[in-house]
């Protein structure tokens, strides 16, 4: 095999995170290369750089022996690099044929040459051995067919590198196999395929080689024939628990939040757990495991299909978030900008949002009291700002997150659900958030900590529950917990004590025989670039 693509010393920093810290990567013509790693390891960022969707701070890309500048998706496509994103970028009101040549319509003096449009599309589909009628609107196609159209778009030009970001997360077993067949045909024609996935079985089934990424570094590259599941998982999690998260042991009290057989429609199976006063219960799992849906249902942001929730011993049936807030259950969402802060309002106003009526009499704001409460909260959380009148949108991510936490502190909640509380904030602020979690637990608040960052959830929790495919599949107490054990639960892999020396061949055989879509929960990419926005 001959070398097709080399990336050298790729670096890219986002505020608060070094998404890529000098990544080297070499891929051969016709090779199918898996990129494996936890959420936020840098897989998607690296591929976005390659596809021209992000600009690196440093590093060079050599394609086909030529150094190339891939500054925009357009330049990348011209160079033969095409990325199929998870959220597909088709115009779903247009036909298959129109979509395939979208962006480069054949025309004569601005008038569309429809025959050429159809011809291009027919050729692209024929090359991939796909039969989808050209005139159908994309909206009417299945996800799998839409993905085929995305790939067809790529082969219209001179395709050299095809990047697939979690392509199977929404596909059925049969569709997955069809996609694999298509990938193999493309590889046989010399196209290099970059395959981003969490799913180990699939990687063993279709890829030639696998690169493990972690914390913005490429850790190792193996041929799949030689790699073992244990080895890959070890390399994925790799870290020791940082000393930045000293978990203070708090005294547990009465059960505060009790959840019995809670079902969120289409998102979870019946889920049960209890959080006591002073206890921090961590929720680990891959994205799409149902953790966020479960939390949003608990606070009344998603409808509950069945099950019972008790807060402080009294049934809690929130029809909307304000019912939960009234009862003293706060929710810090996983997307600070979209649903945590009001960027245009001041720190004071944001802190007061959860307790408007507390700071008012007959609907009239008591400004002095509000200001005092905001000042207390800000000094307790050490929000770095010259004034409480500063707009929250102008603060750093860490300080914004402290303001959101401050909102719930000021509201005096008894139980707090924290969904990815340290996402996209810098290390210093992270440590402060951890300290605050300890303090809140010590005060007797019940805390649910959802995090995709294993060291965090392991380091901060008294107990860790692991979710996969909408179910709680593992429970680990603080003593003796390891990231490997959690990762095995999260990915649905057998543990080493159940099956020694799982080899690639075993796993492939597993995939072929088992009809259940094992490990299908391994979906979604947690991408630092997205988190920053």
């Amino acid at each position: 095999m001959t070398e097709l693509l080399t990336m050298r010393g790729m670096e890219l920093a986002f505020p608060g995170t070094q998404a890529l810290a000098g990544v080297d990567l070499t891929v051969a013509r016709g090779e199918i290369r898996a990129l494996l790693g936890e959420n936020g390891a840098g897989k998607s960022t690296l591929m976005k750089v390659l596809a021209g969707a992000e600009r690196p701070d440093a590093g060079e890309v050599v394609l086909d022996g030529q150094p190339v500048q891939l500054r925009t998706p357009r330049e990348a496509k011209a160079a033969g690099v095409h990325m199929v994103f998870q959220e597909m970028s088709l115009a779903d009101n247009l036909s298959v044929a129109e979509n395939i040549s979208l962006g480069s319509y054949p025309h004569k003096f601005g008038v569309m040459r429809w025959s050429a449009v159809r011809e291009t599309a027919a050729k692209a589909l024929a090359a991939l051995n796909i039969s989808i009628p050209l005139g159908v609107r994309v909206r009417e196609l299945s996800i799998a067919q839409q993905q085929m159209i995305e790939i067809a778009k790529a082969v219209v030009g001179d395709l050299k590198v095809l990047i697939l970001d979690e392509p199977t997360s929404a596909l059925t077993e049969t569709e997955t196999l069809e996609l694999f067949a298509l990938m193999r045909r493309l590889a046989d024609r010399g196209v290099a395929i970059m395959y981003i996935s969490h799913n180990l079985e699939e990687i063993f089934a279709i890829c030639d080689s696998v690169t493990v990424m972690r914390d913005g570094h490429s850790i190792a590259t193996h041929s799949v024939a030689e790699a073992t599941v244990d080895q890959l998982i070890g390399e994925m999690v790799g870290r020791e628990l940082g000393e930045m998260m000293p978990k203070a042991i708090a005294e547990y009290g009465e059960p505060m939040l009790e959840v019995r057989d809670l079902v969120v429609d289409g998102k979870t199976e019946p889920v049960s757990f209890t959080v006591r006063r002073g206890e921090v219960v961590g929720f680990a799992g891959l994205l799409g495991a149902g953790r966020s849906s479960l939390m949003r249902c608990l606070v009344g942001d998603l409808p509950r299909a069945s099950g019972e929730v008790r807060l402080n011993g009294v049934p809690l049936e929130p029809a909307r978030p304000r019912d939960a807030v009234k009862r003293g259950l706060g929710y810090l969402s996983d997307d600070r900008r979209a649903s945590g802060i009001v960027a245009k309002l001041s720190i004071r106003e944001n802190v007061g949002l959860g307790c408007l009526s507390l700071n008012a009499r007959y609907g009239v704001m008591r400004k002095l009291q509000e200001r005092r409460l905001a000042e207390q909260t800000v000094s307790r959380l050490r929000v770095a700002s010259s004034s409480i009148e500063k707009k929250v949108g102008e603060l750093s991510g860490g300080n914004q997150q402290k303001v959101v936490l401050g909102k719930w502190l000021a509201a005096g909640v008894d139980a707090l659900i924290l969904d990815e509380p340290t996402r996209g904030i810098d290390v210093g602020a992270k440590t402060e958030v951890y300290e605050l979690i300890n303090e809140l637990a010590a005060e007797g608040k019940a805390i649910v900590l959802v995090s995709s960052y294993l060291p965090e959830v392991l380091g901060m929790s008294d107990r860790v529950l692991v979710m996969r495919e909408g179910r709680i599949v593992g429970e680990h107490s603080r003593e003796g917990i390891t990231s490997e054990a959690v990762m095995y639960d999260a990915t649905g892999q057998k543990r080493p004590d159940e099956l020694r020396e799982t080899t690639a061949a075993d796993v492939v055989a597993d995939l072929a025989t088992s009809s259940a879509a094992a490990g299908r929960a391994a979906t979604g990419i947690n991408h630092p670039a997205k988190e920053q926005k």
């Binding site: 978030p321 009526s357 009239v364």
Partner: protein
Amino acid sequence: MTTLETTPRSEAADGARSQVLRRLLGPLVNQLAPFTIVIIMCVGLWILSPYFLTASNIKGNLVQMSSLAILAVGATVVIVAAGIDLSVSTIVALAGVISAKAIVDYGLPVPLGMLAGVIVGGAVGLLNGLLVSKLGLPAFISTLGTLSVCGGLALLVTNGQAVYGLPKNFGWLGTGSVAGIPIPVIVMVLVAVGGHFLLAHTTLGRAAYAIGGNPTTARLSGINVGLVLVLLYVISGLLAGLAGIVEASRVISGQPAAGANYNLNAIAAAVIGGASLFGGEGKILGAIIGATILQLISNGSNLLNISTFWQSVIVGVVVILAVLYDQFRQRQARKV
């Protein structure tokens, strides 16, 4: 705003004094650009026309802008929550003819008849609010619909004819005065003060800013978004009804075609005064300054013999410039 922020201040020494100064001047400084325009326009008109700075012209200006200012307060309240109310101009007409009809045809006493007009405005506002918050229609569409409905109703109830024969005291609200101050001006000031209190000092106002800034955060923080929106549209409707009876009272008749230009002008006044159509920003003082600018354009055109056709062009240009300036200012702020 920028001037105060960037001057180096010796915090400890004159902290207290500057605090007081900032509290007094702060609101005006925030509206610095529109306020400067008002000053420049006044100075310009004073130089160009000897008549501008006479008591009767100033009084006339204040009376003429009162309805627009009342509507601009309503527009601001809704725009702050990222909404928009396009129905106010025909509410003005509908409220006017309903109160005139109620008095002339059904013999209601004048105060009750006027109250009926205001209530009709509030009812349309309630409808707008329910369409937006309960049925989830875009505010633009709901209020565009009620705009047309109210316009049609105003014509239907009157058969397209103005309603005359109102008792003399119907004119008190629009033409009377207390201690030499015209009543419409007093109403305008009361509405402005009330609107400012609502936005700056009540939980409803704070909720409006929060919803306009980020509805999801507002909801997750426990704010009753639906109820707040309904109340805001009701307030806008009530104020439109009030403007409607002030207008009717000024001409002592119910005019089914009243209020024609008010829609865009009310929104324009709010926007010139710094309200953002994306929500989360806007102040009553700004809206009043905006209404003043529009009034000065109208008055200036009359005094300087500029065709009324040009007025419309000038208003449009000013609105566009105001929004451009606002975007420029926000981009500067973001860079810091």
